[in-house]
Amino acid sequence: MIKRGVLLVFLILLPLVNAGSIGISPVHFELFFEPNLERTFDFTVSNADPKGAIEVYALGDLAKYVKLSDDSFVGEGSLRVYLKLPKTIEIPGNHRILIGARESSSENGASGGVAGIAAIQASIDVMVQYPGKYIEAAFNVNNVNKGENASFDLTVNNLGTESINISPVIEVYEDNIKLLTKNIEIGKMLSKDKRVINDFLATSSLNEGTYNTSLVINYGREIRISRELKIGYMFVNITDYSYNFSSGKINPFRISVENLWNSEMKNVYAEIVITDKGKVLTSFKTPSMDMAPWEKKDLVGFFDVSDIPEGRYTANLQVFYDSKINNKLVAVYVFKPPVNNVWMIWVGIAAGFVLVVIVVFVYLIVKIRRLKNESGKKNKR
């Protein structure tokens, strides 16, 4: 076979790069900015290969104020990071310094191909306070099952230079109707204070469903964080299913299901019974599977339509889970697969083209004859 073009060779005799992992510990430090502050941070960096080289580095807008005890290690090492902050930092907020360790690329002596190297980065967050009053908050609420109280986590950081008094409120809504209110008394927070609150919302009386929760903190400015809260019950919902099947062959039959229980549901499967005016034509099962809380999955079985004529039938979808059954009667259709008539379109186009050619040809012949007749008459004259 004649080949033209470029010959591109990725020559590798051996995979010269060993599988590599890289680690760093601990992974996070945080501090508030103070003029000319000096601090040291100790990290351990490691490579799974005891002879593997590790390069270390610092990144971020404050990296220029960082000095590393070493530039590289072999196998494992203790890295000391010296930080000497400047007199001022103009921009308030979090300034992140990343301390990274990566496999040394010089190890990758391979000649060609694509090699992967791993890197890992720990962070040192330097918070420069905001002038005046300023807080930041994080809020999460955890889904529960019906009859349970939902736990929530609230973290409030006073990142301003002034003290504040706050009383956060958590509200639970359904369709914009407020159902629950929980007041949290935090009171006075000094500058740099951090409060972490883990508590419960009294959701045990609420029905299953999806609710909106809002955290509101007002300190002159308003912070509002919305989170979805799902209250589950032991139920596997059928959300969709296949209903059109081609006759004369085996078709996949898909049932989309959703676990509405805030716990894992094991051994979920479906049995499908196809009937025609009450007479059972066939039945089949899907493989069983486990479903994580709130997970959506497809159960797939196979519907043999080889001997079932075209028409409308009733399918009884039964989804089995934890000794329970969710049942749904639906209509399904067996039909002849559509005939591939693309060739007919091409035949039509070709016929049209031939017709146009014939018309043009006839027109030209008539025209030529007329011209000949006219020129003959002129010659006779």
Partner: protein, 196 residues
């Protein structure tokens, strides 16, 4: 009869051996008359660690077939427009083996132009989140995405839970017919960076 020093040591050794043998299989039973509570403090330092369990892709050698402007080869079994290249090369496999979630970013040291050259080359990756679903939250590269030489976050987070801490990364090259010819003796380095 006085015992000398070596006899004393010998007898003591025999007594120790006898007591040791006698205690084999012995069970101590009885009532506890006093109790105390032991407190064990264990501090697990957060540790970030990622592991390339498969970290080399060898496409081998090949050529663009006559009449084609380029050839496409990837680690998902595709080879079109060319012959020779190995489309059954393994994907990269990457695992979070630390005890914290990290964000995961990818970058290369050479983009398609500098790695492959020629007209409209392409050097792409795709994060496959199938063997341990939910391992790549917010996957920004579920379809083939061109590599860049700066970090592009692909998973955030890349969790550490054992059931969902592993992803595969497939690589695709589009090699133009006027690409760098001859032996390409350079390796493209893909850096996977986990950041806490």
């Amino acid at each position: 009869m006085a015992l000398n020093k070596s006899q004393l040591i010998g007898y003591a050794a025999i007594i120790v051996i006898v007591i040791s043998l006698a205690s084999i299989g012995m069970k101590f039973t009885g009532f506890i008359t006093t109790s105390s509570t032991g407190v064990v403090n264990v501090t697990i330092t957060p540790s970030g660690s990622i592991n390339f369990t498969t970290n080399f892709i060898n496409f081998g050698s090949g050529s663009v077939t006559a009449g084609n402007s380029n050839a496409t080869v990837n680690t998902e079994g595709v080879l079109t427009g060319g012959t020779g290249w190995n489309s059954s090369a393994s994907n990269f496999t990457l695992e979070n083996i630390g005890n914290v979630n990290v964000s995961l970013a990818l970058k290369v040291d050479k983009n398609a132009t500098s790695y492959l050259g020629g007209t409209s080359p392409s050097f792409k990756y795709r994060v496959i989140n199938d063997t341990e679903p939910l391992s790549c939250v917010g996957n920004t590269a579920s379809s083939f995405t061109e590599f860049t030489t700066t970090d592009a976050v692909v998973c955030n987070p890349f969790p550490f839970d054992n059931a969902k801490d592993s992803i595969r990364i497939s690589i695709q090259l589009v090699i133009p017919s006027d690409s760098l010819s001859g032996a390409v003796a350079q390796t493209a380095l893909v850096t996977a960076t986990g950041t806490y």
